[in-house]
Point group: C2
Chain length 469, copies 2
């Protein structure tokens, strides 16, 4: 298998100076910690506490995904995934990375699977336009609702709507067009599944939403659209193995995390992921959740000391954002670590024709190709940032293959585990999300939230005209 | 016209404390500066130095746009916009804000205009899939190439490719399928236009790319797709008028800029724009360029003192990013000012059916609607952030109309002008972009860049295996 690699020279002090880069001394100092964390991870894993790393080896899960694909594929023209956060971002990342840009516009004859829509918001206009789109195709529309509990307001409300639509159009047979990915045994959605007899897949136990892309949560829609999910998992397994090494110089996830940690402490409090590939752009969205929810924590691991930890993840797109963000990245505050994703071989090189060779200013483009151009732009930006002493990393994709994407996903999942341990916080919870959920319940009139509703009314619901312009 | 409004109470010291919010005293202190800047802007404008504000009144420009729409519309099934940065982001924002989510998937019969693709990258796989998509439709494909000079490598290479494709399929008549938006008189693309006799529109003089959405650059594709560009410009003009007032309490752009400036100085060095609307999400991308390129500056206005100014713009999407970023926004470092975009009336309320009323945990959703849900989620998030003392602003859209979007665009353009003046930097240049462009030329072998090429080879092109894992 072609290996993903990480190039880190331009994040070192040698490249950008001691103030902005990692020194050899700092890496030596952190090495024993990495060794300890690696040992602890290995112990935790044996105790069943790092289940996300075991997903690539879960044969029952993989078989269940293939079984459902087999069941639904032939009669599915449109696949609608209802989910949000960890139940959506992985699906979106896989679709965009591994299927053509025009996938949903391709004819049924040429497209390798159904059209796929991942509906991860509750915008009424957006949902209405999807309703209008699927209604004439409703017989061949499969709804994959993804929610561990079934109680997330966004997914629940979407599900109610589309279940209703299916029922009104298909009558009693509507259940045949639903696949629920949910908790194996408990929760509201599981109860509905039992009562209404849907087919189901499982949201794995002990795996947080943001670590669930390599489970049935992310794999079903990928496999439906023709993505080789076995190859994806092979890639993830390969990276998992590489990242068992306690030696920081041999473990890419540990090194990646260490560089981020050291530079975060030096004021690189933003971590920009900038793929030089339109397809890989949505990996950066997946990464945003992984980084933000895992690391953004008020308290230390013991839950006593206030630390307000976190590094803000930002997505950018090369070359596009050279014409939008690079001015700031070069001349603004030196507070960012920028990670490029670079593709060595695209599926296409795509020649630039020589038909404008007579125009002198454009002569240099003739007979080159777009692969050379985009990778030259990447190198040019790396150089320009280096000149401004801005630290950068490059994750090199040999090509955009399921194997490479699998490696990437596992690399960053393990890296965030290391980073959270280095920070001394709980990488796996998200306590701050609850208040917003409760406040939504309160505002929507769910019983039991009256007191909270009163507080919200007093604090924000009534707008003070004095502050309105 | 329904007015856009700004609600700023939750960015005040009263709401989040002196450390994180704007105090009355600070606003009073900044007021005379605002008065002076407003006066200077008015003078500059009379001297022809703020041309972007005059665009909504430029009747010749508007007439030219309508003329070209009239010319092309009936025979256009696919409109391909080739541009990058300021020549793309406005187009994308307008398409997404004001056309349905499924616009490109609608049938030719129901869609109010051609399919629109704005190709703002040089990803070979993406471009190849667009080539494959348009080839069978090439007769009815119109290419709108947008570039002031015609020398931007991305746009130039795309143009060479699609010009070649048109020529190979349509023969001599290929020029009839090209519209060039470029400099009125000079530059490489204008020369090509003259030689090959394309129809043209003008990139206005004295208006930087990131301020050009309300010119032919952004309006042509919008008008082609059925967006009411006259209403858009009316909205922009309305906002322009509101922002002439030197009184900070009456000028929304001045107030918006002042709050950003004061809070940036208090460590809110990131400015998150978080629309609670999928359609408005791409306004945040447009905003990212406006903020980053205008404010990210190494030197002060005199060009002498190093200031490394800037506030990092970040885009987020509500409710989606509640399940991705809000954990960090509430518990991570208190270093962000978050601006919500809220829509009071969506085109659809979209009822949530009552058919799952029997499921107790979901009962509260029955008979509500998605508009109420998404706006409750917004209020819930505003409340949760307030509880964590994180400053927020809300820009209220009465509805998603061309008038409202026009107001929004002008509001932020004027706001960044104020912000740049408050910072004491040059808001209108982008000196740091040039090195990356030159480095690309060097790597692509353009004559005259040999020395730079040697430097790049030495600095970054040859990867040091020692730093590769």
């Amino acid at each position: 298998m072609d290996r993903l690699s990480l190039y880190w020279k331009n994040a070192t002090a040698d490249a950008v100076g001691d103030k902005h880069g990692v020194t050899e001394k700092e890496l030596k100092q952190i090495a024993p910690q990495i060794k300890d964390i690696t040992k602890k991870m290995s112990d935790d894993r044996k105790a069943g506490k790092m289940k996300y790393r075991d997903l690539p080896y879960d044969e029952d899960m993989i078989e269940a995904v293939h079984r459902e694909v087999e069941h639904f594929r032939d009669r599915c023209e449109v696949l609608l995934v209802l989910g949000i956060g960890g139940s959506a971002l992985g699906n979106i990342a896989l679709q965009n990375s591994l299927n053509p840009f025009t996938y949903n516009l391709m004819s049924d004859r040429t497209r390798p699977g159904p059209q796929v829509f991942v509906l991860d918001n509750v915008d009424p206009d957006q949902i209405k336009s999807i309703v209008e789109y699927v209604t004439p195709r409703i017989k061949r529309t499969i709804v994959n609702v993804v929610s561990k509990s079934g109680e997330t307001a966004e997914t629940a409300s979407q599900f109610i709507l589309f279940r209703d639509l299916l029922q009104s159009k298909l009558g009693k047979k509507y259940t045949e067009n639903i696949l629920a990915t949910t908790d194996a045994t408990g929760g509201t959605l599981r109860e509905i599944c039992n009562a209404e007899q849907y087919r189901t897949l499982e949201v794995p136990d002990g795996v947080g939403g943001r670590f669930s892309v390599l489970s049935a949560v992310g794999l079903f829609s990928a496999a439906m659209s023709g993505i080789d999910v076995d190859a994806l998992l092979l890639g993830a397994a390969e990276m998992d193995k590489r990242c068992k090494d306690g030696d920081i110089t041999k473990n890419p996830a540990a090194l990646l995390a260490s560089i981020h940690h050291i530079l975060n402490n030096k004021g690189k409090i933003m971590s920009v992921m900038m793929p030089y590939s339109t397809s890989l752009y949505y990996l950066a969205d997946w990464y945003r959740q992984l980084w933000a929810e895992s690391l953004g924590k008020q308290f230390d691991l013991a839950g006593k000391k206030e630390v307000f930890a976190g590094q803000t993840p930002i997505k950018a797109l090369g070359t596009t954002d050279q014409h939008s963000q690079v001015q700031l990245y070069r001349e603004g505050p030196n507070d960012k670590l920028i990670t490029f994703l670079e593709v060595e071989k695209f599926a296409q090189k795509l020649a630039i024709p020589s038909s404008m060779k007579h125009v002198k200013a454009l002569d240099y483009l003739a007979n080159s190709n777009f692969q050379t151009l985009i990778n030259s732009e990447k190198l040019a930006t790396e150089y320009a940032l280096l000149e401004s002493k801005r630290p950068t990393l490059t994750v090199l994709f040999p090509s955009i293959s399921p194997e490479a994407v699998g490696q990437f996903l596992m690399l960053y999942e393990i890296a965030v585990s290391y980073f959270g341990s280095l920070m001394g916080i709980n990488t796996y919870d998200q306590p701050a999300v609850q208040l917003g959920k409760d406040a939504t319940y309160a505002l929507m009139g769910k019983p039991g939230y009256d007191d909270l509703n009163k507080k919200i009314q007093a604090a924000v619901a009534k707008r003070d005209k004095k502050y309105m312009i």
